[in-house]
Symmetry: C2
Subunit: 350 residues, 2 copies
């Protein structure tokens, strides 16, 4: 069965993020930029009044439309919103009550997870929320990624940061640096390599991904002179190589990202947050996208925070949100293509 | 007293590095590139036969000239060598006996240190040696930097890596990552900031250096959520600020190097090797120079190792050596200018 043209546009839920932050602004700016090349059938989970006011304040040629659950094709300049909160449309971000906005920010994510888990959307794109703000109103929330993993019963997942020239996947994320060494474990490294490999195949159409694994210590330990975690990393690399994956390392981290940028590798598996984020943000300061791999659905996110200090001032840069939406749409299209291919192959084999 | 023209050219000792490595090749290639714009009065400390053979093999229009100690002005295409060893000029790098070459590599550095400590040269530029090879012949040698510090009675020194767009100074260097956290100490951080500040003033003519200090943990610890070393860093930054230095931090490392690259800071003080080296090598893969600050003389170095595997194959890239010589010459000229200025000011004040 071939897909009908209208089915090819992936359905994507986009959360508005913290109403007091720059989420509403970057979502609308991204819509404005993408309106001439509608890449998906979007549904914003957020607040109708806030989005309407923000679109007016930004003087954007967009029509914010309140919709019930479900997807329809709108005019390109429309922003279909499932309104899950009712704030006053007259208040500036800083005047929105903190408790209500934190609860609302969580409600948008909760709804997005539900739509994705039940297959009503192929992808979720998230605008920033504050973990701290949501936790303070009594909701247990360690971050989008962890919440979406739990909501979908996913145990092993990977945070990947992606730009055109560099993709990094993290073995550990938000931890004190002193705890990293103890978490360099072969099981986890193998799992990150395999999920990264699968992600590159499913979503980026790289048939045989070339994955580099960074060492932990200076000069990748220089044969044990500056640390021995590289033995564990080597073991993991060997184990995964034996399954036929094109994986190499541990490589000295200081020269590795230059090599990846030059096209030698499709992705770099990094041992800790800043090892991956320093080179990623140096190359892709504005347009990096945060991807969660390993979930049963696609999830991308902006690569910045709520930025309360500039909210409502028309100063937020929407490039990361625009890239996150475009990438989610591309990933959904590629995944559908590869699944379609598999189905066709299976049918032929019968 | 104004300097005579001939005095303005700084005298620089250039060590040839390990005879079995790529040192002789990069030194000669750098001379060939710099011959039309002689920036200093150079003296190579090395092996006359090896340099003569290498210049022939590389087909370089250079004349290797054996000299006694002391500096003279030669024709631009001359390479004046104080020959401290006598290897056969017929052997390829791999055939040079290991023990003799390791001892010779050390002798070049020892002589360079002596010339610098006694004021006969203003700067030392070093080609790569192998710490391991030198140690194996029974000479206690933890690296050029440590050796030169000891030889000059220097206790506090700083490894800086410099390119046109980014300069990083390291609080810790070649250590297992797991040991870094324990060495994030206020005293040392203050000292690195102050030496960096002085170095930028003396050698780069930055009157009021703007120095950024990186945090250790992801998001600079996010207010203690992911680690507390940032409290120590803050304390050091405050202490040095009170002395009137333009220093700020601790900043989240992932976005800091982009900001530095954009011109917001003159240098970044980094807590560990890869925090500084990853962004430095991403921006300056070929032309970064390693500088030791805090010594009573100028010392620069290439930013790469002996590369035994490609020695004698005309495959080595000499851009780092060329940059190291040029930078040492610039630094010496600037230091002399600023000292001259100080002397003039003092004379006027009398």
């Amino acid at each position: 069965m071939a897909f009908q043209k209208k089915d090819l546009q992936p359905k994507i839920a986009i959360t508005m993020g913290d109403p007091r932050g720059i989420g509403p602004e970057v979502v609308l700016k991204a819509f404005a930029r993408l309106s001439h090349q509608r890449v998906c059938v979007p549904l914003v989970l957020g607040d109708f009044n806030i989005l309407t006011r923000t679109a007016q304040a930004l003087n954007l040629k967009l029509k914010v439309v309140e919709v019930a659950e479900g997807f329809r094709n709108f005019q390109p300049e429309s922003v279909p919103v499932l309104s899950l909160s009712r704030f006053s449309g007259k208040k500036s971000p800083a005047d929105i009550p903190f408790q209500e906005s934190s609860r609302a920010a969580f409600a948008y994510v909760e709804k997005a997870a539900h739509l994705a888990v039940t297959g009503k959307v192929q992808a979720i794109v998230t605008a920033p929320v504050s973990k701290e703000a949501i936790s303070r109103v009594g909701i247990s929330f360690r971050g989008h990624t962890e919440y979406l993993a739990e909501a979908s019963g996913t145990e092993e997942f990977v945070m990947m940061l992606a730009g055109q020239r560099l993709k990094v996947a993290l073995v550990t994320t938000h931890l004190p640096l002193r705890e990293v060494s103890g978490l360099v474990q072969a099981e986890r490294i193998c799992s990150v390599i395999e999920i990264t490999n699968q992600g590159l195949q499913d979503y980026f159409e790289v048939n045989h991904p070339r994955i580099a694994v960074a060492g932990l210590n200076p000069h990748a330990g220089e044969n044990g002179l500056f640390g021995e975690e590289e033995l564990i990393i080597s073991q993991a690399v060997r184990r995964v190589s034996q399954k036929g994956l094109f994986v190499s390392g541990p490589w000295p981290a200081d020269t590795l990202f230059y090599r990846a940028k030059q096209g030698e590798f499709d992705a770099v598996v990094c041992m800790y947050h800043d090892q991956g984020l320093i080179p990623l943000k140096l190359l892709h300061f504005e347009d990096a996208v945060n991807i969660t791999l390993g979930l049963p659905f696609i999830r991308t996110s902006v690569d910045h925070g709520v930025a309360y200090d500039i909210a409502g001032k028309n100063r937020a840069n929407a490039r990361s949100m625009q890239a996150a939406i475009q990438l989610a749409a591309q990933m959904a299209t590629k995944k559908r293509k590869s699944q379609n291919l598999k189905t066709n192959n299976q049918n032929e084999e019968k």
